[in-house]
């Protein structure tokens, strides 16, 4: 396998590898954060004492790593790169060399971020949202180069994903196989495309903001510093104008994976295929006008809060539609509980909880109290962990045979699911309660506050569960590498699925298809009356008698 490859499948695996590396790093930061919260002022086993400024660095890097260097590369770049050409029947991306450049720019971003840990002063510690003035002057955090490199890493990552987004769109619009109309595209492709559009339209303001912040730090401008007439709140608007759509950029590909997996293992068409696409696009539009719900108590005009509160709560409607569609797909189905299906159902179950707790945060008056508490932290882990990890694992267990030509071990996969599901909930359900008792985010030691002291046992329970949650992931790591080396050889279509990637070899050769496939129907014709089997591949021609009947 060439390292400098233009093959979209190789690039997908490269993104996946780097994403998984960062996932381990992000997991370690979570472990250190949780230890400190449960047993403050004690040595973290395997590390040592955590000073308060180091703690701030940990929470900053945990958020940065998990959102930008795990969720984005795995859900968008790895799955998008692997699936889009294969599912639309193309030989590769529209711009293979741009695709390669996109990965290597991302690799450079990763190196820059990694190096920021080792410069004097340490890595960024102004929160993953980098609010100025804290982030705008080295004197406020004691971090100088760490924060500059943090900004540089983000800028490089955005450049990389802009190239990726252009590629995704061009490929899906121009390289579809004959017969693959837009309304025959698998939903995961639709979701990837919507995510790419949302990302490209929202990232501009943040890039501008990042350049301004870097200039405040390095050149001495005062875009965000009030002593020179700057506005700290300007950054928050620029950041969240991107930051909230970004949530859906991550969520949509996760939901797309779940829709594919749930349909295949229900042996039933996805319920309401076209309306789901419309709901996704509506959600995409709405995602641009909700951002100020992060700023209800930031000092914006109180009259501005209600419109944003309304849009935020209304965005539940298109997502409710997608959720109801998934549930209706299970109705009168014929369900097999594979490891991939368990993770897909886990995503669904967990995401419902996270969506519902979002209503509390979206209600401006309630947010006055729960803003910046652990209730918010618990809420967004329910939405993002479900999309990124439950959804990502569903995708990996499902497409692993196609990616690597070998089957994964189902029994280990199921153990992995149940442990992850149990410990995930035992981490994050109690975290809501901790938040409702008022515990603030990003404090290093809750025992410094009288009103938080009674929460100590609950915090210790959360930490022990979190450690078990992290250890449960070894079942995946073992399964992944064992299957890679010695897994059963995968046939072309082990799950009897309809979409085009299953009609070629596992793994597909360079160029993907021996001949360009022709497409005759939508992707979800399971248990169709037109077929004797309970599946009907997109590329199977209409049978002669059937055709004659028409």
């Amino acid at each position: 396998m060439k390292i400098f490859s233009t093959d979209h499948k190789v690039i997908a695996k490269q993104y996946l590898s780097v994403g998984l590396f960062w996932a381990i790093t992000g997991g370690l930061t979570a472990y250190m954060i949780r230890w400190q919260l449960a047993y403050p002022e004690t040595e973290v086993p395997g590390w040592g004492f955590i000073a308060p400024d180091f703690y701030n660095m940990l929470v900053t890097m945990h958020g940065t790593i998990m959102v930008f260097f795990v969720a984005m590369p795995i859900l968008l770049a790895a799955f998008g790169n692997f699936l889009i050409p294969l599912m639309i029947g193309a030989q590769d991306m529209a711009f293979p060399r741009l695709n390669m450049l996109s990965f290597w720019v991302f690799a450079l971003a990763s190196l820059v971020l990694l190096s920021s840990f080792f410069v004097p002063g340490g890595a960024a510690s102004a929160g993953w949202t980098g609010y100025p003035p804290l982030s705008a002057k080295a004197a406020y955090t004691g971090v100088n180069w760490g924060l500059n490199l943090w900004l540089l890493a983000l800028a490089l990552e955005f450049a990389s994903f802009l190239m990726g987004g252009v590629n995704f769109l061009t490929t899906a619009i121009n390289l579809r196989a004959p017969g693959m109309t837009f309304f025959r595209l698998p939903l995961v492709v639709w979701m990837q495309l919507t995510a790419a559009v949302i990302f490209m339209l929202s990232v501009g303001p943040l890039i501008a903001g990042a350049v301004m912040l870097l200039m405040d730090r390095v050149v001495g401008t005062t875009f965000f510093l009030p002593e020179g007439g700057g506005q700290p709140l300007l950054w928050q608007h620029l950041f969240w104008f991107f930051g909230h759509p970004e949530v859906y950029v991550i969520l949509l590909p996760g939901l797309g994976i779940v829709l594919e997996v749930v349909t295949v293992f229900s042996r039933k068409p996805v319920f309401a295929y076209r309306p789901i696409i419309y709901a996704t696009i509506i959600a995409g539009f709405l995602s641009f006008i909700v951002w100020a719900h992060h700023q209800f108590i930031s000092g914006i005009d109180p009259r501005l809060a209600m419109p944003f509160s309304i849009t935020t709560i209304i965005i539940s409607v298109p997502f409710a539609f997608v959720i109801f569609s998934m549930i209706a797909t299970l109705w009168r189905a014929s369900i097999t509980f594979s490891a991939a299906m368990l993770f897909a159902l886990g995503t669904l179950g967990v995401f419902i909880f996270g969506g519902l707790t979002g209503i509390f945060n979206g209600s401006a008056p309630v947010d006055i109290y729960i803003h910046d508490t652990y209730f918010v932290v618990a809420h967004f882990h329910y939405t993002l962990f479900s999309a990124v990890f439950f959804g990502g694992f569903a995708g990996l267990y499902f497409w692993f045979p196609k990616m690597f030509g070998r089957m994964m071990n189902e029994a280990l996969g199921k153990i992995h699911f149940w442990l992850t599901f149990i410990f995930f909930n035992s981490v994050f359900i109690p975290m809501h309660l901790v938040g409702l008792r008022g515990m603030m985010r990003r404090i290093a030691n809750p025992m410094q506050y009288e009103f938080l002291k009674p929460l100590e046992p609950l915090n210790q329970f959360i930490t022990l569960s979190a450690i078990l949650l992290l250890l449960s992931q070894f079942f995946f790591v073992i399964n992944f590498f064992m299957s890679l080396a010695r897994g059963k050889a995968a046939e072309r279509n082990p799950w009897q699925a309809n979409t085009l990637e299953w009609t070629t070899d596992s793994p597909p050769p360079h160029g993907n298809f021996a001949e360009v496939p022709s497409v005759y129907r939508g992707p979800y014709e399971y248990s169709s009356p037109e077929s004797a089997e309970d599946w009907l591949p997109q590329n199977r021609p209409l049978t002669a008698p059937r055709a004659a009947l028409r």
């Binding site: 003035p133 309401a272 549930i327 014929s334 519902l356 401006a364 248990s527």
Partner: protein, 222 residues
């Protein structure tokens, strides 16, 4: 079960009851959706010889199975929006006239509290400045003018359900009326640097006579 710390402000109860309203509505949806999922998973697990139904859900008749619940979601959303708008207006827009105005300035890592002194004006010689200790009388409307000297801090009174960021370069108004005497914590809720954890003050709510006694003893004389 008590989800929150004790509420001791006039508007805190409104926030709490809005929270519970959302809790009941979302709780009902949670039970309904998760219950249906579990029921379907058991009822429609793969069995020998059974085939799934072919239900694309594209026709309006079939799609109405999920469109109707979506309309229900929309109606409940709007209800919560209107209830929320009322509570928000009560807290943020219909601010009652003040009995006492206090300036609170966040700085790494303390709350600097300034009373106007006997002349009732800030920036004069008889101002009283103390760190991290906020004395107020019970049952009086207190206006707080929030400022910051360096980075963004967030003024948080968990027992009064009050949180408001203090932004450098701005003067932001907040208000509260405590309903019960006692001592309550006043932490910073926005990451503000290495001393953020532990940046904390005390709100001391006193009966009127006690508060006046404290004023007599501590405020500069005319």
């Amino acid at each position: 079960m008590n989800w929150f710390p004790e509420n001791v402000s006039t508007f805190g109860g409104e926030i709490d009851s809005l929270f519970y309203l959302i809790l009941y509505i979302t709780g009902a949806w949670f039970v309904l959706t998760e219950g249906l999922i579990v029921f379907f998973l058991i009822r429609y697990r793969r069995r020998q010889g059974s085939k799934a139904a072919y239900l694309p859900g594209e026709s309006l008749r079939q799609a109405s199975w999920i469109l109707v619940p979506c309309v229900a979601v929309l109606i409940l959303d709007l209800w919560l929006d209107f209830r929320g708008a009322d509570v928000w207006a009560k807290i943020k827009r219909q601010v009652p006239p003040s009995d006492l105005v206090i300036q609170i300035t966040g700085k790494q890592f303390n709350w600097e509290i300034v009373y106007p002194g006997p002349d009732g004006k800030f920036g004069t010689e008889d101002d009283l400045q103390i760190d991290n200790e906020l004395h107020v009388p019970v049952g009086k409307v207190v206006h707080v003018v929030l400022k910051s000297k360096d980075v963004i801090h967030s003024f948080f009174l968990p027992h009064l359900r009050l949180k408001q960021d203090a932004v450098p370069g701005r003067e932001i108004q907040a208000w509260f009326e405590a309903t019960k005497p006692g001592q309550f914590e006043m932490p910073c809720a926005e990451l503000c640097g290495f001393g953020h954890s532990g940046m904390n003050g005390q709100l001391i709510v006193q009966p009127q006579e006690e508060y006046e006694k404290w004023v007599q003893e501590h405020w500069p004389k005319k």
